[in-house]
Subunit: 402 residues, 2 copies
Amino acid sequence: MKENQLTAVQKALEIILNSTEDFGIEEVSFEESLGRVLKENIRADRDMPPFDRVSMDGVAIKSQAFAQGRREFPIEAMQAAGSPKLSLKSDESCVEAMTGAVLPGNTDAVIPYEQVEMKDGIARILSEEIGVMQNVHRKGLDRKKNDLLISVGRIISPAEIGIMATVGAHRIKVGGLPKTAVISTGDELVPVEGTPLPHQIRMSNVHSLKALLKPYGICPDLFHLTDDPADLKSKISNLLNEYEVLMFSGAVSKGKFDFLPQILDELKVKKVFHRVQQRPGKPFWFGKRDRVTVFAFPGNPVSTSVSCVKFFFPWLRKGLGITPVEEKYAVLDQDFEFKPKLTYFLQVKLLNKKGTLYAIPEEGNGSGDLANLTLSDAFLELPAERNHFSKGEIFPYLQFRN
Amino acid sequence: MKENQLTAVQKALEIILNSTEDFGIEEVSFEESLGRVLKENIRADRDMPPFDRVSMDGVAIKSQAFAQGRREFPIEAMQAAGSPKLSLKSDESCVEAMTGAVLPGNTDAVIPYEQVEMKDGIARILSEEIGVMQNVHRKGLDRKKNDLLISVGRIISPAEIGIMATVGAHRIKVGGLPKTAVISTGDELVPVEGTPLPHQIRMSNVHSLKALLKPYGICPDLFHLTDDPADLKSKISNLLNEYEVLMFSGAVSKGKFDFLPQILDELKVKKVFHRVQQRPGKPFWFGKRDRVTVFAFPGNPVSTSVSCVKFFFPWLRKGLGITPVEEKYAVLDQDFEFKPKLTYFLQVKLLNKKGTLYAIPEEGNGSGDLANLTLSDAFLELPAERNHFSKGEIFPYLQFRN
């Protein structure tokens, strides 16, 4: 590949997805598993519901007695939720039964209080007809013992946490996470607490990246390296030994002080590609050394966000074994022109109008306009081969804000 | 209001939104603010960019010299990113300038290396024409000093974190969060680590609720109370003194052992409504005592999730001053029948087909079927007044999984 040749976005993504790593398995408390990836199948430990469960407060009777014309049923007992199962002694009486309770033995229908007159210890049923097993949620109706409830590869949400609690899966296997270093470079950067001189700016990308990784449970260590080649080399050498992912921001364009590609080469990190046919984010550099993966993103803030969402997330998700999600699409809401032969990631605001998602361009003044990101929710991916994109056309989008 | 009368869903929501509380303001590090609600306006501390910024690596010249026919420019110096501003001494020379650097004084155009031949300390420009200020991102082009960058009421995402870093807002004001207790009730419940007897089940709702609250930064304390009225009363009395939100799961239907409404009444918690015209979640009870707000959700897991998403989240968001979001809609993907005169929250899987969101019903076996929630992403809200819902119709949805 020639030095100046750009890798197409789709090709770059394919290459990255063929370079994933297995981060292993970790056991955690189910309570701390939100956002993690399940690495074991969760099965029903018993039938769901585990017993014939009363689903309305009322009285439980034997329906045959009702069918034979009986309407008044002396109350024998009270079946509360959480109490051991009682049993109706006489076919001609009833047991009061509460929602969530076990259906009492020798009964097969629950008449809700609304259809019952209670007086002097006798329940008089007002309904004209009743059904066998009415208001009873049958044992095993939802799921049978050993049924698969949640499969490997599922991202754990509050619903999965509830299910794991129900079946007693209090320690669960989840995907391990790569030990990650996020590294800014460039002498122009000062810390957030600092006051930059006129030619300086504060470092922001490492903080955005850290926040982007948080929903996956990755808590990266942050580093800043100055533009001194010897120092860069020795520090990066250490990081390569200590981390599984190095994510750089800056120092990969072709400026005299963008030493990174050369230093990585000297440190035996194999360059897989450098420069992608996209805007923003063209100078993106990707490489590997054994099991260490290096994502070197360009230094401007929007490039960094685009590249993380478009390339790092799919790489991470595949490595974690997350069940793939379908691509999402939105309708471009106005005509848009983009001349260079580059895939363009257009900043858009998504609007749900009657069930259709519209992408409203929120164009700033180029790839460096970070402030503009607060106006948008997603990047609409416009193909490189075209210049004109018409209102009403449908394109995939990458969401970076819910 | 009669004892048995149901409050319409829309009415219940209005009442709840008229009962919000102000949780105050808290100052946190910007790094820990993800998901919190901004309570101060973030403004540009200086122009963005703060200087005329070089946007391509190349050579900076005075365009007038080029216009006058000059093509060869001796290199005077190197302007690196992060270095103080240099100034071109001779109008007929150039300064090498790197992406992110200050545009050198006395220059007004950057010619990228691709259009330059460098030899023996002289840059020979190959381009046929150049523009004044080409490849320069002008000072203040994106935003002027003091421009509003992020407004009060914004939920903080990675983009906002990047901007706060850029302008040095390292300590920021965010909305305080209500001190919240999540309480399960019912003798039928055993801890997740326990082995339930045949008539018992494990407690799951409190764990789902805790997970649902996490994205907002609320970390509730969890409690379990047994079905003993005296004990319930004394413990709830303490909780009312210590917390700003009490969220119950269970004990609000009309069973003999569902003491909660009565106990809350005795503890001077004013019932605002009890029972909502919806399925699941009909027995939902809502009340206030001074500044303490009590959400008592029915005990079945799906009811709890629906009620939290439909009622608690909007209450919380309004109290936090979150900029309201538009309702979201999806297209029902198949005919559906629901006879009772109740708003029905249909479990659906959302599918994005060419920019339109389709809601595929994932019906389980009734409101208690927790396992079914793993198949769905959202509840489609079907109005109470109708029985038949046709494929192709559009309804609002509440998402509970991304």
